[in-house]
């Protein structure tokens, strides 16, 4: 069997339509000016936009009909995230989608009520990291015999607006998922992070003393957690691919209009050739992202799907970091300003490259998967 393994890539009619619709929505409803207007607001997004996204069914794309979703599979969320990345649109959709995946994968129909709420527009989020290490066990929050939690989580996406939290904890050494209502979290227990990407929001949350509304236990928790982290990598990769493409457009537009030494700067190969490499890198990332969308399928992720998600993240990290970085440089002094969209891209890049594990995290695991088989 070839090392390249599974090379399936396809797009269903539904996925193609979602991509068109999502791109249209982002273009028409959330132009960059609207995104900028939210950069320094507390929630970081416009509630009307979020409502429109919920009304279009985006919070339930990846969940089955039986719990109120669209039953299209998590691969179908990929075009939506690619389009959102293209507009640098924040919102809690990523957090909510991953909370849905974690719950569904760990508890199935058992979590129907929680999942139904989320499909109907409640914001949910996953609280995973104890510290900065995506590769750590992250089971430092304890659930004691009295049903009470001790400890806190860090970098919890969209914690400030979450209606409920899915908290990774441990009970007698075993990983469990504690479901915590926003109302159960103490005033002052949520302290916002100052994020590098101002289109995103996260906070540290202290769950000490909180009684979860429900606890999900059993074997399925570990697999669900592993798969959710991989899907987080894939969906972040989709966002980064869209963002890199948008960043490429902003670079080429500038290279086609700005003149120095009497010539359009786009005619200088020192700018031209790296721009081609951004294009090629973006196409590579896009290939991996849609390969991932094709192979994730239903149920626990296969080895092929794991490889696909990790490769997608590596490729997308590489290109968004390169694109954001070069975008600042290629815009000269203007590139260094807050008003230049390069600011948004380079900040998005630095945020995205660590989410759900950076390139080294995934490459190390890919080495094992590919070379020790």
């Amino acid at each position: 069997m070839s090392l390249l393994q599974n090379v399936a890539i396809s797009v269903s009619d539904e996925q193609g339509m979602l991509l068109d619709v999502a791109r249209g929505f982002v273009r028409d409803q959330t132009p960059i000016a609207a995104v900028r207007a939210q950069l320094e607001t507390e929630p970081g997004f416009d509630p009307a936009i979020w409502k429109a996204m919920v009304d279009m069914g985006w919070t339930g794309i990846a969940l089955p009909d039986s719990v109120g979703g669209a039953g299209m599979g998590v691969g179908s969320a990929v075009p939506v995230f690619e389009a959102m990345g293209g507009g640098l649109l924040g919102t809690p959709l990523l957090a909510t989608t991953l909370a849905g995946q974690l719950l569904w994968r760990a508890a199935g129909e058992g979590a129907a009520d929680w999942l139904g709420r989320l499909c109907a527009g409640s914001v949910a989020t996953v609280a995973i990291l104890d510290a900065a290490d995506w590769g750590g066990a992250n089971t430092g929050v304890r659930l004691d015999g009295q049903g009470s939690l001790t400890g806190g989580k860090r970098f919890v996406a969209d914690a400030g607006v979450a209606d409920y939290f899915v908290v990774l904890a441990s009970e007698e050494g075993a990983p469990v998922l504690a479901l915590v209502e926003r109302s159960a979290v103490q005033e002052g227990a949520i302290s916002a992070n100052v994020l590098i990407d101002l289109t995103k929001r996260a906070a540290n949350v202290d769950f000490t003393g909180v009684m979860p509304a429900e606890v999900i236990r059993g074997e399925s928790v570990s697999t669900a957690l592993r798969d959710t982290l991989l899907l987080g990598a894939l969906l972040t990769a989709a966002e980064s691919t869209g963002a890199a493409d948008r960043c490429l457009t902003s670079i080429t537009e500038y290279l086609k209009t700005r003149k120095q030494f009497g010539k359009l700067i786009g005619s200088y190969q020192a700018l031209k050739h790296p721009t081609v490499d951004i294009y090629v890198g973006m196409e590579n990332a896009r290939a991996f992202v849609y390969h991932g969308a094709t192979v994730v399928g239903e149920g626990a992720l296969s080895r092929d799907a794991e490889i696909a998600c990790r490769m997608a993240k590596v490729a997308a990290d590489d290109v968004i970091v390169f694109a954001g970085d070069r975008s600042v440089q290629f815009h000269g002094g203007f590139g260094f300003t807050w008003d230049c969209d390069s600011t948004l891209f380079i900040r998005r890049a630095q945020w995205a490259q660590q989410m759900y594990g950076g390139a080294i995290h995934h490459r190390k695991r890919l080495a094992k998967l590919l070379l020790d088989g």
Binding site: V11, S267, V280, N284, M311, L371
Partner: protein
């Protein structure tokens, strides 16, 4: 649809069975890695016979019209043959300039007479083709070529020199780009395209030795060479358009090639297999974390190439940048291969220093030679840097 699938499966089995029987054994002398390095009569005779045999068996030009010696089938059949040739480590199908550039070009733009005259002999390897585009002073800037062709009655008289002419010393015909008018406002408008005979008075090809130590290309001199006026393809002064179409076939931007098996197939699996036998710091090389990380990078590049190839057929994933994926195939593919071969050639400890001819060389110096040979792909047919310009200008719309 499923009928078609069944037909392809049966075909694949037939081809595989035929190859098992007919792929020639190692002839005991060095064979070229690609069509660019056919350097001895012995290699030439061997490869000519092999191509003729494959064609006679009905396995070449699968999708070319039967009236010109093809099989009139779907391109998928040719793809299967190429795959099986690779799988059976078959010697290369060397008449590449004919099979992959001239043939498709003639089928696309040639007259009935031209097709009838040339195509079958390309397939059967009875006639070998070469390409006379580059000149000593004009390579990347192809539009500036100066070799002159002057009309004289029923003939053109050609003077000048072409260089890097692959297979030129063995070829029967050349696709020749020459200047018929030196006084046009645009340099491109003075060029004409000829299907020119090689074995005539006034044409001489002198072999040039390569980095690999082998031969395969030539400098070709034209001294008052007289070629029939009927050799002109298209209109006088319309040569640039024909040349550009030829390059689309050469660069794999447009399909229609009769055989993709123009070089020894080297895949990522071969690389990993080779490196898995190597010791480094008293342990397997593949246990070294730095090497492992490098290899993940190579595997990802190989996989991205394959995925992007498949993606070209999916409009939803291929319409943002029309032609973008097709135009980047050569740019990405040839550079990946160069780095992959260099890496493998250089991770053999002291054996990395051995070359073809040394009995102790890893796989006979295969990787060292393959690395050098690969520059034919990153320079020939338009250099990587020129490909980058093309992508920048034609895909991203950047200024010249």
């Amino acid at each position: 649809m499923s009928d078609n699938k069944a037909a392809l499966t049966t075909f694949r089995d037939d081809v595989a069975a035929w190859m098992a029987e007919n792929v020639p054994a190692d002839p005991g002398f060095l064979l070229p890695l690609t069509f660019l390095e056919v350097g001895t009569e012995q290699q030439l005779d061997f490869l000519r016979e092999w191509q003729h045999k494959l064609w006679s068996a009905g396995y070449l030009g699968m999708h070319w019209p039967t009236e010109y010696g093809g099989q009139g089938a779907d391109p998928a059949f040719q793809y299967i043959v190429d795959k099986e040739l690779g799988r059976h480590n078959a010697p290369i199908i060397f008449n590449t300039i004919g099979l992959n550039w001239v043939g498709p070009l003639l089928l696309d733009m040639g007259t009935g007479e031209e097709k009838a005259k040339y195509i079958k002999n390309i397939l059967s390897a009875e006639e070998i083709w070469c390409q006379g585009f580059s000149e000593p002073d004009h390579g990347s800037d192809l539009g500036a070529v100066q070799t002159r062709a002057v009309r004289d009655g029923d003939e053109y008289v050609v003077n000048g020199s072409k260089i890097w002419t692959t297979l030129g010393n063995y070829a029967d015909h050349m696709i020749l780009l020459a200047r018929t008018n030196p006084n046009t406002e645009r340099k491109y408008d003075g060029l004409s395209f000829f299907l020119s005979p090689m074995k005539i008075d006034g044409v001489e090809a002198h072999p040039i030795r390569k980095v690999t130590g082998e031969y395969g290309f030539n400098q070709t001199f034209f001294t008052d060479a007289r070629i029939p006026a009927s050799c002109l393809m298209g209109d006088e002064g319309g040569g640039w358009t024909v040349a550009m179409k030829t390059l689309e076939y050469e660069r794999g931007v447009t399909a229609g090639q009769a055989s993709g098996h123009w070089g020894v197939t080297i895949q990522i699996d071969d690389m990993i297999e080779e490196l898995s036998h190597i010791e480094h710091d008293g342990a397997p090389l593949l246990a070294d974390p730095v090497v492992r990380d490098d290899l993940v990078g190579f595997i990802m590049e190989a996989k991205a190439l394959t995925l992007n190839g498949r993606r070209m057929a999916i409009p939803a994933l291929n319409s943002d940048y029309p032609m973008g994926l097709a135009l980047s195939v050569k740019y990405r593919g040839t550079e990946y291969e160069r780095r992959m071969k260099q890496y493998t050639a250089s991770k053999q400890g002291a054996q990395s220093a051995l070359y073809v001819g040394d009995d102790d060389a890893v796989r006979g110096g295969f990787w060292q030679r393959a690395y050098f040979s690969n520059f034919g792909a990153t320079i020939g047919g338009g250099t990587t840097q020129v490909q980058a310009n093309i992508i920048a200008e034609h895909v991203l719309g950047l200024p010249k």
